[in-house]
């Protein structure tokens, strides 16, 4: 009996990957990591003060396109406010990131990893990915006083946040000039904060 259950479970797991020309594990991971790197790059561009406003606005649209729908939320945390987290809508989050009141902002996403892929009730493949975000923001003001001389005032905020990201993989079909193109599309869901650390 126990052996039958084990065989059944193994069969079920293998069946998930065998269905509907589902890509192999390496391909899935590659696609998910590529998507996370894409979003990380877009977040970095949005936050960067050197980015042209037109480019930043475009990058916000591009970043939202990575999500399964625009109603998804991003959780943010502040180490200074008792590690409380706040949920923001995608556009609100990216717009706030673009308009941060600092002279210099750097956001870096590193160490993407993927936790078990499984099929949901809608037939999509879902998994949770984790990334580590390094956020550094600073203000540097130089005041040249004739009596005191050149004084540099600097303040800033930096933290390291581990984030959990819902990932969906679904097969998409596109018709073009009578040709049917099928491919597996990776889309992101809500982003949550796992833990925050001050740097």
């Amino acid at each position: 009996m126990r052996l039958t259950i084990i065989i059944f479970l193994i069969h079920s797991v293998l069946n998930v990957f065998a269905q509907s020309n589902f890509p192999d594990k390496k391909t899935i991971e590659g696609k998910i990591i590529s998507k996370l790197e894409t979003l990380g790059s877009q977040i970095s561009i949005i936050g960067d003060k050197a980015t042209l406003p037109k480019k930043a606005r475009e990058s916000i649209d591009a970043a939202i396109d990575n999500f399964i729908d625009s109603e998804r939320t991003v959780e943010v945390s502040y180490i200074t406010s008792d590690a409380k987290t706040i949920k923001r809508g995608l556009r609100e989050y990216f717009t706030k990131l673009m308009n941060l009141n600092y002279n210099d902002v750097t956001v870096t996403w590193t160490n993407p990893s993927i936790v078990n892929v499984k099929q949901d009730s809608l037939g999509r493949y879902v998994c949770v990915a984790t990334i580590v975000q390094y956020f550094r923001a600073s203000n540097k003001i130089e005041v040249d006083d004739p009596e005191i001389g050149l004084t540099i005032y600097q303040n800033g905020y930096s933290d390291q946040v581990t984030k959990l990201i819902e990932v969906y993989m679904q097969e998409r079909t596109i018709q073009n000039n009578g040709e049917t193109l099928k491919f597996w599309e990776v889309l992101l869901g809500d982003i949550k904060v796992l833990h925050t650390k001050k740097l």
């Binding site: 890509p23 790059s41 480019k55 491919f183």
Partner: protein, 247 residues
């Protein structure tokens, strides 16, 4: 004479048709660029000017048969008058041996004048051909880094160069200009970009404008090493762009 005018018009039409044909072939082979536009403009202006000038400067006799006959008569009369003038002139000098040869205008002169006009018209045509040749020479000399193999390859090379430039100019004003240049090569904004892996499995499909917006992203053309291929429509514009990822 009307037949002759018709022949001249036909001659110009054939010539201009030949130029347009040659130009279309060369445009199809190499694409449109500044030199070709200049050449076309100069050639067209030159050709039109030559035709207009030719007919504007033709003597009325050539255009109207009746007036030719009338003028022939008057030319003969003029001859007589001029002979009289010689006599008067001689008398005024007082039997001096100096004689001015004033030739009467005859029907031969009218023919010569017509020949001259035709010669001038031919010269204009030669000038136009010369301008075309100079333009084409300049074009081949300064803008032919793309070999004249076929349009498919030329457009592929163009788009590859533009995509690399686009990557180099990220987050600059030039980025948007380069995107516009790429869009000009496309048949419409509905052109799709298919990103595939080496084994031709589709990784991503999206519209050209979205692809160009995200070109520097990892799942797009971010490293510039990927292969590019194009499908052109009958006018030579891109209908579909395929990026084959090298990783």
């Amino acid at each position: 004479m009307k037949k002759r005018i018709l022949l001249i018009v036909l001659f110009y039409l054939i010539l201009s048709g030949f130029f347009v044909d040659t130009l279309l072939i060369s445009i199809e082979a190499t694409g449109i660029d500044v030199f070709k536009i200049i050449t076309i403009t100069i050639g067209s202006i030159g050709g039109i000017w030559a035709i207009i000038h030719h007919f504007m400067t033709l003597p009325k006799e050539v255009i109207d048969n009746k007036s030719i006959e009338t003028n022939n008569k008057s030319a003969e009369d003029d001859g007589k008058e001029h002979e009289n003038e010689i006599e008067v002139f001689d008398n005024e000098i007082g039997g001096n041996t100096i004689q001015k040869q004033i030739k009467p205008i005859t029907i031969n002169d009218t023919k010569k004048s017509k020949k001259n006009k035709i010669m001038i018209a031919i010269l204009y045509v030669v000038l136009v051909v010369l301008l075309f040749s100079i333009g084409y020479f300049l074009h081949s000399k300064f803008s032919s880094d793309i070999p004249l193999i076929n349009k498919q390859e030329i457009v592929t090379n163009k788009i590859k160069n533009y995509l690399i430039k686009l990557l180099e100019n990220q987050n600059t004003i030039n980025e948007f200009k380069i995107r516009d240049s790429i869009m000009d090569l496309c048949s419409s904004e509905q052109v799709i970009v298919v990103v595939t892996d080496k084994s031709n499995d589709t990784l991503n499909v999206e519209g050209i404008s979205v692809f160009l917006r995200d070109v520097a992203m990892p799942d797009h053309y971010n490293n510039g090493n990927d292969s590019v291929s194009v499908v052109l429509d009958s006018f030579g514009f891109i209908n579909r762009l395929t990026i084959i990822k090298k990783y």
